[in-house]
């Protein structure tokens, strides 16, 4: 039986620091401290603790690939699976560099929803035909190629 993960308790200063970092992770400890009315050393300590506990998983860079001339397509792939194999399929998909996100959903059937990127439609099709369809337990696949994106954000913490 899987044990439910114990939530880590944060106070309002931790939450505020997280919000500040989500808005701009390049801010200095002094800038965050000034904004929140605390010393930069306090900000440093809190961030270090949250990193150690895995609350802060990583700092990353969002690159606008179009601006640097990288052409690619994104697709949302829905994989219908045999319930007995769905976890293995999800794990296998997670290992592929073409797959950015993998989630499971239970509607009428057990589905795996994955966000996939490829250089073009041919490469996308080859990946799905050669790497996804042959996985044991895959019953059917529906794929929608994204033609226009209106918004993409991570869930932002609200200031406490």
């Amino acid at each position: 039986m899987k044990l439910k993960k114990q939530a880590i308790s944060l106070d309002s200063l931790d939450w505020n620091i997280l919000q500040a970092l989500q808005e701009n992770a390049k801010q200095t400890y002094t800038e965050i401290g000034r904004r929140l009315g605390v010393a930069h050393s306090t900000v440093y300590d809190r961030i270090r603790k949250m990193e150690e506990k895995g609350v802060i998983q990583k700092y990353t860079t969002v690159v606008d690939l179009e601006k640097v001339g990288v052409k690619y397509i994104t697709a949302v792939m829905t994989v219908f699976t045999d319930p007995k194999e769905s976890e293995n399929v999800a794990k296998k998909l997670s290992e592929s560099k073409e797959v950015l996100e993998v989630s499971t959903s239970l509607s009428e059937e057990l589905l795996i929803i994955a966000k996939v990127v490829a250089k073009d439609q041919d490469k996308l099709h080859s990946f799905i035909a050669q790497k996804v369809a042959p996985l044991p337990g895959v019953l059917r696949i529906r794929t929608s190629i994204i033609t226009r994106k209106y918004k993409e954000e991570k869930f932002l913490i609200e200031r406490k």
Binding site: H125, A129, P136, V138, R142, T143, I145
Partner: protein
């Protein structure tokens, strides 16, 4: 044709080498064929849209040549393109060519 090359064309394929039927880019029907014999059967069963999708992309002859290693079948499938068949006409033509090839290979194997 040697007995071993006939046996190779008629062999049972691994999952990775099976033919997977799609109706469009990334849309897998759930149907696949892991031998020439199964491929004949599936031609008669799958959605005609799937046959058209693969036929006009050249997927069938590519699979026949590269996976089954049957250049003759690949050429015969490619030759059908001159007729520009669609729908059930495509199914009929494909079935005729592929099933005939399968039967010939099978009798060669037995003989």
């Amino acid at each position: 044709m040697t007995a071993s090359s006939v046996a190779r064309i008629l062999r049972k394929l691994s999952r990775e080498n099976a033919f997977y039927f799609f109706t469009s880019i990334g849309n897998y029907t759930g149907e696949n064929a892991s031998s020439l014999e199964e491929f004949v059967k599936k031609i008669g069963e799958v959605n005609a849209k799937s046959l058209e999708f693969h036929f006009y992309r050249g997927d069938f002859e590519k699979w026949a040549a590269e996976v089954l290693e049957d250049g003759e079948l690949a050429e015969e499938i490619e030759n059908l393109k001159n007729l520009k068949p669609v729908g059930d006409a495509l199914r009929g033509q494909l079935y005729l060519v592929v099933s005939k090839r399968f039967e010939n290979l099978k009798s060669e194997f037995r003989g």
